[in-house]
């Protein structure tokens, strides 16, 4: 709460909210002000937000996009939909971090407004980087939390709503999930074609997979599947 200089409510003021609402409606109409362009150009249509407010989501989206930027080296956290992953997970596996996000994102935005005179999301990338460099020092815990979750959202199994179109896996040339790796797959030579599948695209981990794994050897391409796995439930 270090940057909350008025010492009152930790939430954004009504004026801030109105300003943000104005900005959002401008964006929705496709008339983005020039300085906001870097933050919004690939996400004109907003996804449903499950846990964050629209203002929080804009701040987070901009934050993630600076951690793993879209640049000359290709897509980054924005294209991977890391912020979308985080928003969704804050209602489930990351629920214990929800308050940290709310207060942390608010402090980040307040800091941007106080020191740079504009919302964090509307700052130019260089100014965002400068603000984040400051936040990294003053709020290492919050910064680390967002960084950790941005990496998760960029490189996780796409089932979780991040790593969209496998942009994270492509970024690091991950050859993909295989259910069996041959000696050639483990050679020092590079992989020819990456597999681009979620774990849950494989039949044995999809719907009905429990039954499938008991009775078929379909998911593996050598060796033999054990038989009778389904019979071993000798509960009292």
């Amino acid at each position: 709460m270090g940057n909350n200089s008025d010492g009152k409510s930790p939430g954004p003021s009504r004026r801030d909210m109105l300003k943000l609402a104005g900005a959002a409606s401008t964006l929705a109409g496709g008339l983005a002000p020039a300085e906001a362009a870097p933050a919004v150009k690939s996400t004109l249509r907003r996804e449903a937000l499950e846990n964050l407010s629209a203002a929080e989501a804009d701040t987070l989206e901009a934050f993630c996009a600076r951690l793993i930027p879209t640049d000359a080296n290709g897509p980054g956290a924005r294209e991977a939909r890391a912020a979308h992953y985080i928003d969704h997970a804050l209602g489930g596996a990351l629920a214990s971090s929800r308050d940290s996000y709310r207060s942390g994102l608010m402090r980040l935005d307040q800091h941007a407004r106080q020191s740079r005179g504009a919302s964090f999301a509307s700052l130019a990338p260089e100014a965002q980087d400068a603000v984040l460099t400051e936040i990294e020092k003053t709020e290492p815990e919050f910064f680390g939390l967002v960084q950790q979750h941005t990496i998760q959202g960029t490189f996780c199994d796409p089932y979780y709503g991040g790593n969209k179109d496998y942009v994270g896996w492509d970024l690091i040339s991950y050859p993909g999930i295989r259910l069996s790796a041959s000696p050639a797959d483990q050679a020092l030579a590079p992989h020819a074609t990456p597999v681009r599948k979620s774990a849950y695209d494989f039949p044995m981990f999809g719907r009905g997979g429990a039954a499938l794994a008991d009775h078929t050897s379909a998911p593996v391409d050598h060796g033999q599947m054990p038989q009778g796995m389904g019979d071993m439930r000798h509960d009292q």
Partner: protein, 568 residues
């Protein structure tokens, strides 16, 4: 209201790596065994290759009783609490943590059984670190060898022998103690990376070898060979190649019709009578309370739960907790320092994207007392292990070795180039027991049933810190010989909640300093046996599970062989 169940011969508390093995010799001996397990059955369809779920979210949460009773930790009696992890590294399921363990299945080095006498004999008694409560085991490797042999075959272990009846074989670990015969299966396949590391070891005079793994390297006993796809780390095997007890010894025990497993059973107390004998086990399942009477009880939880259940089980004869009239329950606690490691950066991709922790090469030249400690200021050592394993989130979270900022375009460019060029060694180091490293019940933190959780009071001492520094230097040498262009040592750390905990119900002949006798039975309650790493008096510098399983088999077999005397 408590439901009193029909009396059985033996109740085993926990159907994991230890209990799942102990059940087999008992059932084969014709004893009726009931296995109480807090978790449930899991099957291959549960073992999706999902890094986020397995490695970050403590899968599978729903069945993990352990996650609701995570121990607290402080470095010393006066120190503040360390941050409490949100996920317990161990899990509840039929098969226990052997479902998602790395399956490295080592025998201890002969030195580990006689640290006091061997150290005194070679360097003098002054070399036993001050404050250490270490004792020689009540027997040597020779005694445990045949039980190692049994479990290697019954569980299913792949490996390359390095010493058969004293004849050394350089393809294996030439520092291992003598074994009667080869492993039942050849070692897991090597990789080009592991071959590169083995070659590098040779150039600096080290002996690299493939390690033993409880994973099928070939089709055996109806189970598939390893698919090398990775995902062993916190994941079960999708083809049951991993010899987790739920697919190895437990099905064999069930086939005798002498073992019945109760899943979802939360054991609360072990009951004892006025003569100081245990009478059975109280547990709850689906909101109902049960009492399962038995002639003998084998406690087979993880180290923390074994100690906790004994301390919670107070009675007139055991006012300080079951088998604790000498105040030894919770003492002689140890855990491997797995934190202090070395990271390396190579100038080329090393293709570690597939493979598993047990697929690699080890170096034992700096382990145990395999080298002369005369000019050194510590005893013990390290097993250096390099493996083939990489997952995307972990790869993107690796160090930038000071070559790039931690985020932004610089970071992204670094990760794009180096995601498959980093490596982290796995280095297990000797830890000794000390007077002031112990487990007890936390005075404040409780589980959902209102019972206190375990409190760990432990920190690494000078000997352990010196081992860690020495080990890191040796690993740096190895990486540099293999062509690493940058290396980084990680912090020494402390002794928080871990997968490699030892002690708390130590085994030994002296009832004043040990909880169980040389057979694993309580010095105070003769029909109570304890299996698990809690009975181990030294940590060794390698994974504990095979030793745990050899001891479990030995204790169970002894119970069957001395049935009338133990239970009469």
């Amino acid at each position: 209201m408590t439901n009193n169940l029909k009396k059985t011969d033996v109740v085993i508390v926990g159907m994991g790596a230890a209990g799942g093995v102990a059940a087999l010799p008992l059932a084969r001996a014709g004893l009726d065994v009931i296995g109480l397990e807090a978790g449930g059955w899991l099957a291959p369809a549960d073992f999706a290759p999902d890094e986020l779920r397995n490695n970050f979210r403590g899968w599978p949460q729903a069945v993990q009783k352990a996650n609701r009773e995570i121990p607290t930790h402080r470095r010393s009696a006066g120190a503040p609490y360390s941050p409490r992890p949100v996920v317990h590294p161990m899990m509840n399921a039929v098969g226990g943590t052997s479902v998602h363990y790395w399956a490295q299945s080592w025998r201890l080095n002969p030195w580990d059984f006689k640290v006091v006498s061997a150290t005194t004999g070679r360097y003098g008694a002054a070399r036993i670190p001050k404050g250490s409560t270490v004792e020689d085991w009540p027997f040597g490797l020779e005694e445990l060898e045949r039980f190692y042999d049994i479990v290697e075959h019954e569980v299913g272990v792949s490996g390359q022998a390095g010493n058969i009846m004293g004849k050394l074989d350089p393809r294996g670990n030439i520092f291992e103690g003598a074994r009667a015969r080869e492993y039942p299966m050849p070692p897991l396949r090597g990789t080009e990376f592991s071959a590169m590391m083995a070659d590098a070891a040779k150039t600096i005079g080290l002996h690299a070898f493939p390690g033993p793994a409880a994973i099928n390297s070939q089709f055996r006993e109806g189970r598939s060979a390893c698919m090398y796809h990775g995902w062993c780390d916190r994941g079960g095997c999708h083809v049951s190649a991993k010899s987790s007890t739920n697919v190895s010894t437990i099905p064999k025990a069930l086939a005798t019709k002498r073992l019945a497993i109760v899943t979802g059973a939360h054991v609360k107390r072990i009951e004892a009578d006025e003569k100081g004998r245990v009478t059975g086990v109280s547990y709850s399942k689906d909101g109902q309370d049960y009492f399962q009477p038995a002639q003998a009880v084998l406690l087979a939880g993880y180290v923390y739960e074994n100690v906790r259940l004994l301390l919670l089980s107070k009675s007139r004869m055991f006012a300080q907790g079951l088998s604790n009239n000498h105040g030894q329950v919770g003492r002689h606690y140890m855990s491997h320092n797995q934190a202090a490691s070395v990271l390396a950066l190579f100038p080329r991709n090393i293709n570690n994207w597939y493979g598993l922790p047990a697929q690699g090469v080890g170096v034992d030249n700096w382990s145990d007392d395999n080298f002369d400690h005369a000019g050194l200021d510590f005893i013990g050592g390290v097993n250096l292990w390099v493996m083939s394993q990489r997952r995307p989130i972990a790869a993107a979270s690796a160090s930038t070795f000071g070559k790039a900022k931690g985020w932004g375009s610089d970071w992204k460019a670094f990760v794009m180039q180096n995601a498959d060029r980093t490596h982290r060694a796995y280095m297990q180091k000797t830890t000794l027991p000390y007077e002031d490293n112990y487990l007890d019940l936390d005075p404040e933190v409780k589980d959902p049933l209102g019972d206190p959780v375990i409190r760990i009071t432990a920190d690494l001492k000078d000997n352990e810190k010196r081992v860690a520094m020495f080990a890191a230097d040796k690993m740096v040498d190895w990486y540099k010989a293999a062509g690493a262009i940058a290396v980084e040592k990680t912090d020494v750390g402390t002794m928080g909640v871990t997968t490699h905990a030892y002690g708390g119900t130590r085994m030994g002949d002296n009832a004043q300093t040990n909880v169980v006798d040389r057979w694993g039975f309580s010095h105070e309650a003769p029909n109570l046996g304890v299996v698990g790493a809690s009975v181990m008096g030294t940590s060794g510098s390698r994974n504990p599970t095979l030793t745990v399983q050899a001891l479990a088999w030995r204790t169970a077999q002894h119970l069957a062989e001395t049935w009338k005397g133990r239970t009469g």
